[in-house]
Amino acid sequence: MSLAPPPTVPNGKSVERQLDSQSNVAQQTMETPSIGGVTSKPCIHCGLPTMVAADSDPAEPVFCCSGCHGAYGLIQGWGLDEYYALRDQLTVTGAALAASDQKNYQQFDTPEFLGESSPKTTADGLECVELGVHGIHCAACTWLIERALLHQVGMQAARVKLSDHTLKLIYDPKQTKLSGIARFLDRLGYQLLPLDRSRENHLRQENRRMLIQIAIAGFFAANAMWIAVALYAGQFSGLAAEHKYLFELVGMGLGSAAVFGPGRTFLRGAIASIKTRTPHMDLPIGLALFVGAVIGTWNAIRGAGDVYFDGLSSLVFLLLIGRWIQFRQQHQAAQSVELMMRVTPRHANLIAEDGTETSVMVDRLNQGDHIRVGAGECVPADGVIIEGISRLNRSLLTGESLPVAVNPGDCIEAGTVNVGSPLVLKVSATGKNSRIGQIMQSVEAAATEKTPIVQLADRIGGIFVVVVVFLAFLTFAIWLPQSLQQATSFATAMLIVACPCALAMATPLAIAVGIGRAAKAQILVRDGSALQHLSKPGMLWIDKTGTLTEGSQHAQLVWGTPHALMLAAAVESQCQHPIAQAIVKASEIHSSYMAAIKESYRPSAVDVSVVPGGVIGIVDGCVVQVGNAALLATKGIRIPDSALELASTLARNGSTPIYVAVNQEAVALLGLSDPIRPQAAALVQSAKQLGWTVGMLSGDLSEIATRVGSEVGIARDMCRGGVSPEDKLATVKQSRDQFPTVVMIGDGANDAAALAASDVGIAVRGGAEVSLHAAPVYLANSQLTNIARLLKGSVTTTRVIYFNFAVSLAYNLVAVGLAITGNISPLLAAIIMPLSSVTVLGLTFAIPSFSSRSTEKVA
């Protein structure tokens, strides 16, 4: 392994020097109107704002210090680049959690806090506990946690379950405490959480039940099969009648046990289907199983005719496997959502009537209880504020990254983070009844809901029953003139071989596998039909702000001194506008530089007022005005020509010019821009390659929209600027007439209407709540390249569906043809039927969809 070349910004001293020369450049730009100066970029490793020259290559990584550069080099050298993407997708919730759980480790030693996941004492005095872990990304985390914990004194065993992010610990309570373990893991970057098991237990029980059914069915199938092999062999080499009878009776026992034991789900489904008169795939399957079992039993007992028990039991076995795979894949999507939602705390500070506070489990809270939510804590339950004024970060629910102010009387939801001062809440709903709980339920309900194509398969199942019964009668009628016995035999064979088991598996399985694979790539697909829509190229509308671009304003000092910027920031720091935040952020970078040369200088503003076009305030006795050219004009402030020239250059480059005036004199010019995401152009290109027409809808000015469009490769006439949310909705609806599929990619919050109106809405940003309500697809890590992956994956999935359909129908047609002509033997039936199911199973898994960049390789 070799380290990367020496750091570009080696240490503090030279940073100063470098910055000094750069700010000189900024000051000199009065004479040379070119956009130079300094700008800030986050350090690629730790995220600290770092000064770089504005004209440096934007793709070049920036480091705040040589330590970060070294760490970055190590990570790159080990081929662990994925780390940064994984880290970034979880930083928000991770940081919120870390803040809310700080110094609360002692709680891990109290059973009230742990609730259901309290440690259980084993026979030899050790304690065993299972806890949720936040921050696990991949196999490497498993390795790190298990290895690191085993070095702790008193730790007997540590096991991480990657599938549901839980950790099982066995430790000696005399030597170590859970609080110590929690603190230790927090230092490694993982937070322990008590678990809410009720829902998970349900899934786990269901999973185990299905596995047991499969095991039983497998036992019956395997034994029925070898008995059948003996019978078939006996047909050729002779078999004593008594032995044949024994085999047939044992086969009968095993076969009917398989059909009426593990296979009864299909019989039950068939009965339900008859009762409710809704066609269902279970109906033809149940019919085949039942008829086969009854006729087979009859034949076995009277010792004449064919028995089909081997075929029937292997059918049950394979169908159950198919169902289990569907179950697992469907819950993978729901589980991914749940892992995101696990951030809601499991404990709350209950305020008793006498004013004392106790930490209790959220489940124990009742409506009307008063709870305290400290600063930096996550709100544990829905409720109404009765005391305190604060700001809330509601990004988990709405995707709005700016904190919103809340006052007494406001309703707040579980899962939001209190970033201001402590609040007292009156609880209105907890757990499943809270808003976040309801979202979880709706996502899970949607995951188990049947997609249109599965419904289509079910309808085909209904038709199938009619056709199969008709064909069975036809076969009976054809062969009746020969002999009654032969006619019955062939008609039975007909009923059994026409069982559309492969057909029943083909579509749901392909969709479930597709959704499951997508969920692994952080693409949450709520609705399987989205995959079908996405496979037919049509119109792809992309929102600009926040989708193609970063969505947040970045301020850059173009002309003027850092001092002017600090004054501007002092005024703006009292506003909540995104522009104000960008200016404050820009000044923070400068102030760290200022602090390095002289003692900390932090001006504060008084008399701040927001006026049209800007903000005015008084800092250190000087009147400071920050705003656009129009504001300065109304105040009668002259802008130097050189600055005007710079401003027009800025506007041409898509930035918004903002002036700073001190005591009626323009002293600085700031450029505000929203950088384009690096993957935007790649997304547009790959979508075009797949045959999509790509367009852009933006609420921004047409000029800016066109410029961004040309940079990412969207045709000029497809860039619509200055579009209101209503216009977006209208455009999407209009294009539905022209294109078979209309897809809208946008922000879960602002574009909700357009997302819902399109055939498939893809939400790339914004909280899970709105996004999943409005759009069937949600990108959990907002990586644009995942959209291209989704488009390709849908094409493959749909191809797999049709292929499966064709294969299973072909099998059935051949089998039916053979049965009508009386050429089917039980042996042939036993081979053809499982073979078709196995083919479908194999094909679905063999054809790669959503091919991943193999993150597992790292392990």
Partner: protein, 58 residues
């Protein structure tokens, strides 16, 4: 060939005991997590037990 009358039930009994063992394993939760074990096998065991308080584990 009358040995079949003993061999066949014996075979079923053997198979049945395997089934019971399998169901026991499922109930114990050995099949709950199918994601970590295939990865865990790639992680090397440590050569020596470095923690003195931890007697050698099997």
């Amino acid at each position: 060939m009358s040995v079949l009358f003993i061999a066949l039930p014996a075979a079923l009994l053997l198979g049945g005991s395997a089934l019971v063992a399998c169901i026991y394993c499922i109930r114990q939760g050995q099949y709950d997590d199918l994601e970590s074990p295939p990865i865990r096998i790639l992680i090397d065991d440590e050569d020596i037990v470095q923690n003195p308080s931890e007697p050698a584990k099997s």
